[in-house]
Subunit: 329 residues, 2 copies
């Protein structure tokens, strides 16, 4: 099985690459080759599996055709301009997030006109397709109500994925990831960055800023769960999905207070004292428009699984990123 | 006020043109000029109001810019490839229904970059954005679940309209029309054609085929109501819409049996006998996937109004199309 990962250089893409190489198989079939694509060339891990890395912009003419022409059996499309940038640069957001995805779908369809071809396509959508006012737990049949251009672009891609799948041009599945915490690496400027920061930094002996109230509720899954969703989606029987090809992934609905309580259980009062409360009204207002809880019965019935406590999320971070050891002890 | 109608040559476009000219004003302002655009030049009615008619394809480069450059105050965008054709010709459907609308929105945005410009844009969406399985009455916050490429394209345009409005590039409102009956003119090949045919033909002394069971329920409004929706949307204060710019219009949920009972009240047993029952499994299957009823509380609160009985719909047809007289008597 030849696998193509678009957006391979990002955090999720790198972890997915490692997981695929570690498994050696997916959906019961051997992985024969891996193609890694991103706007910057992804690092190529040492492996017996043939891996090629390509620096390419999916939104430029020819890129999607070149990729589809290699007829991968399975495609992960993870590439996107993030929310803040898509809001700041309207043209770039639509070009990468909408046109890039449409060009990919269209290249797959054109390839299928030359000779039968209908690859599995796993697309990472986002809970940003939903915006306030929202019900207490958002069901899969809630309307797309994005409050950002990023969320609009993801919602449009969900519709395209469903239509191209219905027509038999691709075998698509779109998965809406919860906010992924604890993200490894350095703090970033994303409005959601503090959700990871207030665990990651204190466990590393560093201070972290908390810009919102402890009562704020949000929707979480670990990077480990995110990779689990992608692998499960790749092997899933899509027939039970019917025409509804996009799913909210399971996650944990938890408050900042619950998150901090988990931090204390692993890092003690020493870690706790490293959280500096610095209210930021702008961030608080943005976060207030975000989804807080989902009804993911459909995804759970299909076998998707996530953490059920913040302790599990912190433990996954310590095991996967810190070698099982907390660095501030 | 300069008004642009795109899709002016169709049934709704022609009736809208007549209604605007008859009123002379809209939203309390005089109509100073009317531009009628369609792929074929629309008929230009005799009027004191300056009217220009243009045959142009919105999906071709330059058309949208040319139209936006005239800076109309109010734009009605009614143009679309219908459901059956969009399903039969995948490329054409996406080109006209998606790309055409996106080019229009983009031309308006570009025009606004030269000098402030934010016209009201009334867009006709469709109940085809919803497909089975559906709840007994579809609320506005039901997910887009189209089962056709046409419905997918309309759903995507709704999302674009909302995002361009949120960003302040246009003042958009999307209205999902019920199935419009009784359509004047000749029978057509649309799967929904019989809903009009079984009223129109018998009242005209002609036979009409009924391909589905009398128990079939569907969602209706008269052409008169459709024009009323458009005019009301043109003058509506959009602030109460918030970020949710797309609305299901009010309509009448009725069965074929109720429709036939109304026919009998106006046309007698003579009209009744002109309905020939000829079950068609293909049409029955298509119709079974269509919405049957909506919760339109939101549109009603905003002042949109439709018929509340099939008698009202038949009466509107007799008054507006038959000069108040039934032709088979």
């Amino acid at each position: 099985m030849h696998i193509l990962i678009i957006g391979a250089a990002g955090m999720v893409g790198r972890k997915l690459t490692q997981a695929l190489l570690a498994a050696g198989t997916i959906a019961g079939r051997d992985i024969s080759a891996l193609t890694l694509v991103d706007v910057v060339a992804a690092d190529v891990p040492v492996s017996d599996t043939p891996i090629s890395a390509l620096a390419a912009d999916l939104s430029l003419p020819g890129t999607a055709q070149t990729l589809a022409a290699t007829r991968p059996d399975l495609i992960f499309h993870l590439a996107a301009i993030v929310s803040g940038e898509a809001e700041a640069d309207f043209d770039k957001g639509y070009r990468i997030n909408l046109d890039g995805t449409r060009l990919l779908l269209e290249a797959i369809r054109q390839e299928g006109m030359k000779a039968p071809y209908c690859p599995r396509l796993v697309f990472t959508s986002s809970i940003a397709v939903f915006g306030a006012p929202l019900p207490p737990a958002i069901p899969d049949d809630m309307a797309h109500t994005p409050l950002t251009s990023y969320g609009t672009q993801k919602a449009i891609c969900e519709l395209l994925l469903a239509d191209y799948s219905r027509r038999g041009f691709v075998d698509g599945i779109g998965i809406r990831l919860p906010t992924v915490v604890v993200r490894p690496g350095k703090p970033n400027k994303a409005a959601s960055g503090f959700f990871s920061g207030i665990i990651r930094e204190p466990l590393n002996g560093m201070e972290a800023v908390l810009p919102v109230d402890d009562s704020v509720r949000h929707w979480f899954a670990s990077p480990r769960s995110a990779i689990g969703f992608l692998l499960h989606a790749a092997g899933l029987d899509t027939a039970p999905l019917g025409q509804r090809r996009n799913l909210s992934m399971p996650g944990l609905s938890a408050t900042i207070a619950e998150e901090i309580a988990a931090l204390e259980r692993f890092g003690g009062t020493k870690a706790l004292r490293l959280i500096r409360r610095e209210p930021d009204e702008t961030i608080a207002r943005i976060v207030a428009g975000w989804p807080q809880n989902f009804d993911t019965g459909r995804a759970i019935a299909l076998g998707f699984r996530a953490e059920t406590s913040f302790d599990d999320i912190v433990r996954a971070h310590i095991e996967d990123e810190l070698g099982g050891q907390i660095g501030n002890g």
